[in-house]
């Protein structure tokens, strides 16, 4: 049981209306320490979690957007966002935060963590996982 497993975190809910987005992120951060093969999927209303320019002052909650930017430092570098979900909500990649990581296998070149994929590609990603965590 010491082999590396493929863990997928599926995010389908908007942030702040419920706590799932925040507490899901807390699992990802803790899970990063276990050296497994981690992938994050954002689809349906989950894409709102990555929208930039949030200001939570008036709702009195902590803005946890900066944590997504730190994911690269935790070696969480595979972040898939579904194209159809963005389009249905009038969003484009430009509306999302610019998440980066440094690729240690490529002389620490800075690369994009977010990859926009079709629903069909997302289905393929889901299909090949060992553990799918949804909240």
């Amino acid at each position: 049981m010491s082999e590396v497993k493929k863990f997928l975190y599926v995010n389908r809910k908007a942030p702040y209306g419920s706590i799932y987005a925040l507490e899901s992120l807390e699992v990802v951060l803790i899970g990063a320490a276990f050296d497994q093969d981690v992938t994050l999927a954002f689809l349906d209303d989950g894409v709102y979690q990555l929208v930039k320019g949030k200001n939570t002052e008036a709702i009195g909650m902590k803005n946890f957007s900066p944590t997504y930017s730190a994911l690269g430092d935790y070696d969480v570098t595979k972040i898939y966002v579904e194209k159809e979900s963005l389009e249905a909500r009038g969003l484009t990649l430009g509306d999302l935060m610019d998440l980066k990581y440094e690729d240690e296998d490529d002389d620490w070149a800075e690369k994009d963590s977010i990859r926009v994929v079709s629903a069909s590609e997302m289905a393929d990603i889901m299909d090949t996982q060992d553990i799918v965590l949804s909240f």
Binding site: Y16, G17, S18, I19, I59, G60, M61, K62
Partner: protein, 130 residues
């Protein structure tokens, strides 16, 4: 005007307790009267004094307690919903033979009739939930 507020969800999991808190604060600032805040379903979980959220997060039960103290709010937890979910005041814990209670200051436990009375006595009743 006189308001009664119904909160159907616990703190944190859903935004309803936050939204209700901001609504009540705004209503008070405008000089309205809050006749009662009634906590039902998982809403009863707003009334625990054992919650210790992270330092940089809001403490919703404490915010309700503080608001109740500052404005004399009547925060009522439904007894039937509270029994199901384990929210107890000292009397109720004793009556049930339990060794502990967990109710926060400013909250009281009472029956569903308090919700209906709130509806009858208030000009407006607003519901916050999932």
């Amino acid at each position: 005007m006189k308001f009664t507020i119904l909160i159907n969800e616990g703190p944190y999991q859903h935004q309803s307790s936050d939204s209700a808190l901001h609504f009540v604060q705004a209503a008070l600032e405008k000089g309205h009267e809050i006749f009662r805040v009634f906590f039902y379903h998982d809403g009863v979980n707003n009334g625990t004094r054992l919650a210790v959220p992270p330092q940089d997060d809001r403490n919703l039960p404490k915010e309700w307690s503080a608001l109740a103290e500052a404005h004399g709010l009547d925060l009522v937890i439904c007894i039937a919903a509270a029994q199901r979910r384990g929210v107890m005041d000292a009397d109720e814990a004793k009556r049930q033979g339990l060794d502990a209670d967990n109710i926060a200051p400013g909250f009281r436990i009472s029956g569903l009739g308090q919700l209906i009375e709130g509806g009858i006595q208030s000009d407006r009743l607003v519901v916050f939930g999932d």
